[in-house]
Symmetry: none
Subunit: 210 residues, 4 copies
Amino acid sequence: MAKKKDTTRQRILDVAEILFSDKGYDGASIDEISLTAGVNKRMIYYYFGSKKGLLDTLFQNFLRESSSMLMSFVRHGGLESSPDEEAEESIGSYFAYYEEKKDILKIMLMESLKEKEGETPLFSLVDFSSVLDASEIDYYNAQSGMSEREKNQMLVTEFFTGVMPLLAYVIFKEKWCGHFHVTKQDLERFYDRAMEMTHMAYHRMQRKKE
Amino acid sequence: MAKKKDTTRQRILDVAEILFSDKGYDGASIDEISLTAGVNKRMIYYYFGSKKGLLDTLFQNFLRESSSMLMSFVRHGGLESSPDEEAEESIGSYFAYYEEKKDILKIMLMESLKEKEGETPLFSLVDFSSVLDASEIDYYNAQSGMSEREKNQMLVTEFFTGVMPLLAYVIFKEKWCGHFHVTKQDLERFYDRAMEMTHMAYHRMQRKKE
Amino acid sequence: MAKKKDTTRQRILDVAEILFSDKGYDGASIDEISLTAGVNKRMIYYYFGSKKGLLDTLFQNFLRESSSMLMSFVRHGGLESSPDEEAEESIGSYFAYYEEKKDILKIMLMESLKEKEGETPLFSLVDFSSVLDASEIDYYNAQSGMSEREKNQMLVTEFFTGVMPLLAYVIFKEKWCGHFHVTKQDLERFYDRAMEMTHMAYHRMQRKKE
Amino acid sequence: MAKKKDTTRQRILDVAEILFSDKGYDGASIDEISLTAGVNKRMIYYYFGSKKGLLDTLFQNFLRESSSMLMSFVRHGGLESSPDEEAEESIGSYFAYYEEKKDILKIMLMESLKEKEGETPLFSLVDFSSVLDASEIDYYNAQSGMSEREKNQMLVTEFFTGVMPLLAYVIFKEKWCGHFHVTKQDLERFYDRAMEMTHMAYHRMQRKKE
DNA sequence: TATGAATGAGTGTTCATTCAT
DNA sequence: TATGAATGAACACTCATTCAT
């Protein structure tokens, strides 16, 4: 049914994701997006209202998709309550997901760096409060047995020593290989090892505590 | 060195650093920079040739300054060969330096995210080869007793699990506090603790090995 | 006459009258009209062919309505041949009619100000030739006993010192009250008095002559 | 001195006055103005900041010019305190001034018809409060011996039965001649006669009263 | 009667850069 | 060193109108 109908809209979204990621939101022009997508410029305004509306749609689509991942992660008690093998697997799926979504993640990082609005889209990657409703949060809090302080500590640790390195890795992978003359396979080994020795070591220790 | 002579030039540099940091290189216009700095637009071209030249000057000034820090770090054998207290101190000075230079660091991150040019200014933060000459590098390599592979592993670990978290912290500090409703002091404690449990734990282990 | 049939068409006309009056013909867009009227944009073209066609329909509807008023006015010999009380009453109905139709009158004034086309819709307010057929005009001319010159003088006097002040009054009423801080009631009294002392005084004198 | 310097700016103003008058503010585009004036489009923004700024400049220039006329009119006690011949002469100069400034007057009328902003530039034609300072107004009030109510009555009478007819006359003169097939000379006679019998008659009566 | 999708030309505005002095 | 004036190309966005169904 929605075949012919959605191609134009979807083609715009696909092209916008690539161009925003490559040149930044400001650097990519409506003209270039419409030209690359092979659609009339006006169609972007027909479907998304404005350039900002196009960006917001990209973000919302991503959040809708990724929220299920974040929710299942939270519901299963995070990494700490799982046995080592499960945790590894969970990490692996995160790794793959970030690889797949690197374009939109890069756009989110870029937009988060701007000073103007209070919005910092990147925080949505670790902020369940935006994806769970109040009752779920209460339930989770009760079950996890963590104080507010412990929860904040966990968020900070996850974001700055877990998410940010992974984000940087998927974004800078190619450039690093080119600059430092290493193969992709080697870089992946180095990165895995680095995370193993730092962030993963911390998670292992946390699990032992319990 | 001259005084009157440099005020115009320096004022341009100061304003450009702030505006590029706030709005991005593309987002800040020559008109706005000259207006904010209170100088004639033409002066920017007189001193820096182009908008790109202005950005390059900012980067070069930063690299000239920070290279001495990186060099002394390298010459003393990195963190591994130092006793714990010295290492702590060294880390502390890094922390303070990044705080102070957060504007230019943010610009470097932003520019590094762009796809077009091969340049990734952010890598200069860990790449001694750009700051040491060949003979020094040879000497350092011989002295450190590290294989090429070990050196690469170290670079990756430092960049992704050391530099990136710190960079993210100085850049997102204010925004994090606003979004998650924590005080600056608390966030700093959380961040310190996070780094302690991950990156610093790894450094401690490295030092023990030797 | 049909009911369901005319709602869409009529809704478009109603909205167009308001929006053209508020923002001018150029300032009001087809998009806004269709959105406000809650009808599909294409319907405007179905019913009126073009934006210009919509405007023309508004004008024609008004002229069809007002022509009967103008005709009865002319047939009864204008204000001059009536006794004072009838004249007063006639004036009063004009006043009320202009109040009621101020939106369309305002549009006619706006369009009359444009230079391009030869059309000056506002003139239709005093030009019986557009509303009477040739034989009626001949009959009227013979009966009134006015020369061509006297007729032209009368038209000029009516339009510039009768119609224009009334038009300006209904259009600028609200704005005048806001700007000069007078109540609507006071303004109406001032305006009535002004017309009494100028235009009405002239009509009284004309009646006395005969 | 200011010769070469002012040509571009002045040429823009001249062309804008004509095009705004012919096609309306919305109907005349920046492209057309710059093209007709033979200047680069950007120069309009260089000198006036925006299209609105260009319009405002036109209005301000007119007000600065005409304010002296309005002030001298007010200072000499209006028409009422002058002998008949002087009054006639004063009226004559008004007539000529409106003829000369008909373009800008037409723009002011057009803009006054728009609903949006509270501004009604046309009112400035009779509102001394915008052109005199407080002490002058007080002096004038004391001297004229008019009550607030009498002053308001006078403003209303002047605007609706004096200014509006004259405005309509200078704006619609050509179109009237074309539509009703009368010569310019005849129309002027008709108009003069109409004003003589209405507005001027009122002024004569006012003067007699005193 | 009705509609969602599509179009090309045009809107006001801003860009980094250069000219002449 | 400094400056006011000028430029062409690009920017995001809107216009009245038409297509296929």
